[in-house]
């Protein structure tokens, strides 16, 4: 176990903590948008895919990588757009103070 890995683990644990702390009482009407929004974030794996694809490790890696990029990108783009569509119902009413 390298100190590097140890630090990464610390980061992992802290981020988990943050994740737990961040979600509190969500009204059920927002369960689906919230899930969908955080699903889009989980598409962050696209970063790893980019690194794999771009670093020319070999043709196999590049092919797997480019598929991964495409899939993860679909997840990210689709995820954010779908969430936004769901959330349009909360547009502010004109009369509201």
């Amino acid at each position: 176990m390298t100190p590097e890995l140890l630090s990464a683990l610390y980061i992992f644990v802290l981020a988990m903590f943050l994740g737990f702390a961040v979600i509190t009482k969500v009204p059920p009407l927002l369960h689906t948008p919230l899930m969908s929004g955080s699903n889009a974030i989980s598409g962050v794996t696209v970063l790893a895919a980019l690194l794999v694809t771009g670093s020319q490790q070999g043709p196999l890696q590049t092919i797997l990588g480019v598929i991964a990029v495409a899939l993860a990108m679909t997840n990210v783009v689709g995820g954010y757009l779908v969430t936004d569509r769901m959330l349009q119902m909360f547009k502010k009413k004109p009369g509201e103070k």
């Binding site: 990464a8 737990f20 927002l30 690194l51 757009l81 959330l87 909360f90």
Partner: protein, 464 residues
């Protein structure tokens, strides 16, 4: 450390901040949209920063992947019908899991060709593969169930437990084998297949009604897969965002289960999900089901309405909820929701019963409407609240000649766009008969003593 590296590190931190704040904002209706947009901007920043990384030397394939992914994502999001949203989310989630799995595979072959990675890296790669694959296959089944492509009932099969055990052992064994000796593509292949099968077997025994919860859980998994991938490619942004999603997803799953009055364990491992709708509510003797609603959701429905009509009945009197209902009306009034009371001639147990109580609570007379004045307005109402009333809103009075209340004029509550019924149980009212209104598509039941439910509702409306 070069300036570029510092820029990248900074960008990652900002992106992580965007994700955190975005998640927080997504929890209140008012800022949810802004939160989503902020989160998306964070992602954009993270992607741009990554593209600047010195490891990346060739952009051609990357562009290809990005273009395809963006196009596909945009198209899917544009075309999916509102009703198809949940399965869409499931599908996208599966893609994310698959991407992580593919990265694990790529890295596997990368290292398998060389001298094999360090122990921690091996474990990271295997975990990424396992979780990614489970996420992928599980999400596909879940989406399929919601779409109706896969049998949406809870599928049970013989020897379920032994099969699961064998599967788990297979994964453990192949994993251990690979840890000891890395370069065995066939063993890795077994590992992949076993993981995919695990995802399927995990999801298939769960009924369609519970799928949203499962997708939420799988979403948490895909976050974890991303975090593991972060360990593999040594990228802190991935670790942070991935574990953020992993943790928040689990909490959200928990909250969703609470909202259904179930435990996670119950959702995952019981045969309760055997019918499509059972998870969502109670069932009447005749097989009709009612849909319950919680105060927080009801509050949102009310807060975003234009016109709310309250139909008080004997139950309001029994629970002495007159003051509470006025308060709710006041609170809605502050949000410029119009509130009217529909007073049925025989609501309660004596002539003028509702008037006595509402006057006590100082409800202005000009908010009270009698049946003839208001019956045509129900169709314009976004929500009708049936507050401890029963017979006076029973549609059977209109057509069921055998009913003891046949011929009594009733309030057209069923014409409203949404109906929230507040009562303690499914017990009948004075006339002792069932009320089909409660089983109506548009009706949601807020069970509990009227006064207590109202108190909750007021609090929730305030916090929306």
């Amino acid at each position: 450390m070069t300036a570029r590296e510092i820029f990248i590190a900074l960008a990652y931190m900002i992106a992580a901040a965007c994700f955190v704040v975005g998640l927080i904002w997504l929890q209140t209706p008012k800022r949810a949209r802004a939160g989503n947009i902020l989160s998306a901007l964070g992602m954009l920043l993270a992607v741009i920063a990554t593209l600047l990384a010195k490891e990346i030397v060739d952009y051609s394939m990357i562009v290809l992947g990005i273009v395809i992914g963006t196009a596909a994502g945009a198209w899917m999001a544009r075309t999916v019908p509102m009703t198809g949203m949940p399965q869409m989310v499931g599908l996208l989630n599966g893609f994310g899991g698959a991407a992580s799995a593919l990265i694990a595979a790529a890295e596997y072959f990368h290292y398998a060709a060389g001298k094999g990675p360090a122990l921690d890296l091996t474990i990271a790669i295997l975990l990424t593969m396992l979780i990614g694959a489970v996420t992928f296959s599980g999400s596909m089944i879940a989406a399929g169930k919601l779409q109706g492509v896969v049998n949406e009932r809870a599928v049970t099969y013989p020897f379920q437990q032994p099969i699961n055990l064998i599967l788990a052992l297979t994964i453990l064994a192949t994993g251990a084998y690979l840890v000891i000796d890395f370069a065995h593509p066939w063993v890795f292949g077994y590992f992949i297949v076993a993981s995919l099968v695990l995802g399927v077997l995990f999801t298939i025994p769960i009924g369609g009604a519970d799928m949203p919860v499962i997708i939420c859980l799988l979403n948490s998994f895909s976050g974890l897969a991303a975090a593991m991938a972060g360990f593999v490619v040594k990228n802190n942004a991935l670790i942070i965002s991935g574990s953020l999603v992993g943790a928040s997803g689990i909490i959200l799953t928990q909250i969703m289960c609470w909202a259904m009055n179930r435990s996670i364990g119950n959702v995952l491992f019981s045969a309760f999900g055997a019918t499509v709708t059972a998870g969502a509510g109670g069932k009447s003797a005749a097989g009709k089901t009612v849909k319950p609603i919680q105060a927080d959701e009801a509050a949102i429905l009310l807060a975003y309405a234009q016109l709310v009509i309250i139909v008080p009945g004997y139950g309001m009197a029994v629970s002495q909820a007159q003051h509470a209902v006025r308060q709710l009306a006041d609170e809605l009034g502050k949000r410029s929701v119009a509130v009217k009371y529909a007073i049925h001639p025989v609501a309660g147990r004596m002539p003028g019963h509702m008037n006595v109580l509402l006057a006590e609570a100082n409800v202005p007379y000009d908010q009270l409407y009698d049946m003839d004045q208001i019956n045509d307005e129900f169709q314009r109402a976004d929500v009708a609240i049936v507050l401890g009333a029963n017979d006076v809103v029973n549609p059977a009075a209109r057509y069921d000649k055998s009913s003891p209340i046949y011929g009594m004029p009733i309030l057209n509550t069923d014409h409203a766009k949404n109906i929230i019924v507040m009562k303690r149980s499914m017990n009948p009212g004075f006339a002792g008969i069932e009320n089909e209104l409660f089983y109506h598509d548009k009706t949601r039941m807020l069970f509990g003593d009227a006064k207590e439910s109202l108190t909750k509702l007021i609090n929730e409306v305030k916090s929306v």
